[in-house]
């Protein structure tokens, strides 16, 4: 499952992620990391069965962990199958099938919001 790990300002200098990985032995597949001197936010993939343990380890060090459960939603009435969303999605959620209809693989979405701004027809939203 995809999770969001937020690291508050006062903990930004601690190696929270590495410590949690070493402590639990659970591998996180980090897909997006936005970290600056004031705030950190990471999106990672973790096996469902391991989620509770890594969450506990991260939270004991002050991080906030949330499950990303608002997959991208496409309004099929609004969508005109142009494909503008395809090239901006970092996770290749969108593809064309052989009839040039848009296919959406929601499971891959990390909810970055890039495609929402790109869609000329306002057909994309997060969560439903």
């Amino acid at each position: 499952m995809k999770i969001k790990i937020s690291i508050p300002t006062e903990r930004i200098h601690d190696p929270i992620i590495s410590e949690s990985i070493i402590e639990t032995g659970i591998r996180l597949n980090i897909m997006v990391a936005n970290i600056d001197s004031t705030y950190g936010e990471l999106i990672a993939d973790v096996k469902d069965s391991r989620f509770n343990r890594i969450k506990k380890a991260l939270e004991s060090r002050g991080a906030i962990v949330a499950i990303l459960d608002q997959p991208i939603h496409r309004d099929e009435e609004e969508c005109v199958d142009c494909g503008a969303c395809i090239s901006v999605c970092p996770m290749n959620v969108y593809t064309f099938d052989e009839t040039w209809s848009l296919c959406v693989d929601e499971k891959k979405c990390i909810q970055c919001g890039m495609c929402i701004k790109m869609c000329p027809h306002g057909a994309l939203k997060l969560g439903e």
């Binding site: 199958d81 142009c82 395809i86 090239s87 901006v88 064309f96 009839t99 701004k117 000329p120 306002g122």
Partner: protein, 500 residues
């Protein structure tokens, strides 16, 4: 030699014996039967395109009110229309944005809402005359209430369109969509193999008076489009059709983030196969249609071409730029273009649509001109200060403070031993360093990501960059990164003071 007339083809449409195929199907037919065989077999080839066509709008007539008004200014759902013609006629442009909702809603959305039967708020003002005494009018209308609702589109159905990419370090929001930094993506438009004008590039059957599929109804070509540039392969068409007969499947409003609104139009043009030449031209494939990938990072009308590309590559989903695979996005819908070509094919096959010859040919030579500008645009080099104080990156913070103090100059350009610009240092950076007790080299306290500009850039572009990043000055550098001068918001204010 195969020679058919429009009259013969229309008779076949009437008696149901017509052989009509789409431009996509024609590729294989010409491959199998050869040009002559295909010209004999096939009577009509249908094309289709469905994409953003900003140059679209609605010519309408509201009917007279009681007491009557000669409308001077007019808004539909707060989107302004042009009404400087007669009393209650107006032209609503697809790209006009709402006074209250901005880029989210524009003329295109009013057109789609009308088509969907929604009620539209009308607000009009006037100066009042003896025959038209009324000064203000507010009402709501639907499409049925209008006398005429004619889509009158000055420039549609581009023969092909340049593709877009972005070499800069930031996201660009354009009418070609969101362009990711460092050649992160390529966007393109047009239906390639199905593109109407690419299937009849010498405009033998497409001209003034040609009957077409427009937004799900029958419409007409009324001439070449504005900015018609056939010699470069960028021909365009001016179109007209009755909105009241159209379908919201083929007329769709859109909004590009950071750019504005536009109308997605569905257009299909039948090409009667009168001779071998037309059979050959309708066999055009994606791989035969070339266009350039332009760099939209350059905010000038002449954008540099990164490379040439054909529609087969664009449609494959990846194009190579500098050895890297870059994902592509279409902005127009090939699925809908195909749907249109097929629907038009059915109309012809079932005797619901007859082909026509143009009453006048449109020119297939010539290029669109650039704007005549009588006032020269000032360039950065015309207004920059060529006095700029530089400092080497390994000098001390104290040296820097001294230079600023001696020259009463707020920005120091930090350079390497070979004179290349590597950073910028302001009086503020120095105060901060002092406050934090850092007295090492200039390099440790300077700003490394420094915005720069080139001497030949128009000042407007430099001003826009200063404003966007909230900085007050930018070093001007040449291609070797040598510092030539500096442009400050002060230089720009002085320029404006001179201008007005």
């Amino acid at each position: 030699m195969v020679k058919k007339s429009i009259h013969e083809i229309n008779k076949k449409i009437e008696d149901g014996s017509v052989n009509v195929v789409t431009a996509e199907e024609m590729v294989g037919i010409v491959e199998n039967l050869g040009v002559e065989g295909a010209a004999r077999e096939v009577d009509v080839v249908t094309t289709g395109t469905f994409g953003a066509m900003c140059s679209s709008g609605l010519m309408l007539n509201l009917g007279h009110s009681e007491p009557p008004i000669k409308i001077q200014k007019l808004w539909f759902n707060n989107v302004e229309a042009y009404s400087g013609l007669a009393a209650v006629d107006a032209y609503l442009g697809a790209a006009q944005i709402s006074d209250t909702r901005g880029m989210q809603y524009g003329g295109a959305h009013v057109i789609e809402d009308l088509l969907r039967g929604k009620e539209i708020d009308v607000h009009a003002t006037s100066y009042g005359t003896d025959c038209y005494p009324r000064k203000v009018l507010d009402t709501t209308i639907t499409l049925d209430d209008l006398n005429e609702a004619i889509l009158l589109n000055p420039r549609n159905a581009y023969q092909k369109y340049a593709a877009a990419t972005n070499s800069s370090k930031r996201i660009l929001n354009t009418y070609m969509g969101e362009l990711l930094p460092n050649f992160g993506n390529v966007t393109y438009s047009g239906s390639g193999v199905l593109s109407p004008l690419s299937n009849d590039p010498s405009y033998e059957t497409i001209g003034t008076g040609t009957r077409i599929f427009m937004g799900g109804a029958q419409g007409y070509v009324i001439g070449n489009g504005t900015q018609h540039s056939p010699s470069d392969g960028f021909g365009t068409l001016m179109l007209k059709g009755n909105l009241k007969e159209m379908s919201s499947d083929y007329i769709r409003a859109a909004s590009f983030t950071g750019y504005g609104t536009t109308l997605y139009m569905g257009i299909g043009i039948p090409i009667p196969i009168l001779n071998e030449k037309l059979a050959a031209s309708t066999a055009v494939q994606d791989a035969d249609i070339f266009t350039d990938i332009l760099d939209y990072a350059v905010g000038s009308k002449d954008k540099p071409a990164i490379r040439q590309v054909n529609y087969a590559e664009l449609k494959s989903g990846l194009v190579q730029i500098e050895g890297k695979d870059v994902p592509t996005s279409s902005l127009s819908s090939f699925k809908n273009a195909r749907k249109i070509a097929n629907e038009l094919k059915e109309w012809v096959r079932h005797g619901k649509f007859f082909v026509s010859m143009p009453v006048e040919r449109i020119c297939c030579e010539g290029s669109a001109k650039s704007m005549k500008q009588t006032q020269a645009v000032p360039l950065v080099k015309d207004v920059m200060s060529d006095f700029i104080v530089t400092i080497k990156k390994d000098q001390t913070v104290q040296d820097a403070a001294k230079k600023i103090w001696e020259n009463s100059f707020n920005h120091l350009a930090v350079i390497s031993d070979t004179g290349e610009l590597v950073g910028i240092l302001t009086a503020w950076d120095i105060s901060k360093a002092v406050a934090e007790n850092i007295f090492d080299s200039v390099e440790s306290v300077m700003t490394k990501k420094v915005l720069t500009c080139a001497p030949n850039e128009p000042v407007d572009l430099a001003a826009r960059r200063l404003d966007r990043y909230g900085v007050s000055a930018m070093p001007v550098i040449d291609a070797q990164k040598q510092v030539l001068g500096i442009i400050t918001s002060d230089n720009i204010s002085k320029l404006l003071a001179r201008r007005y």
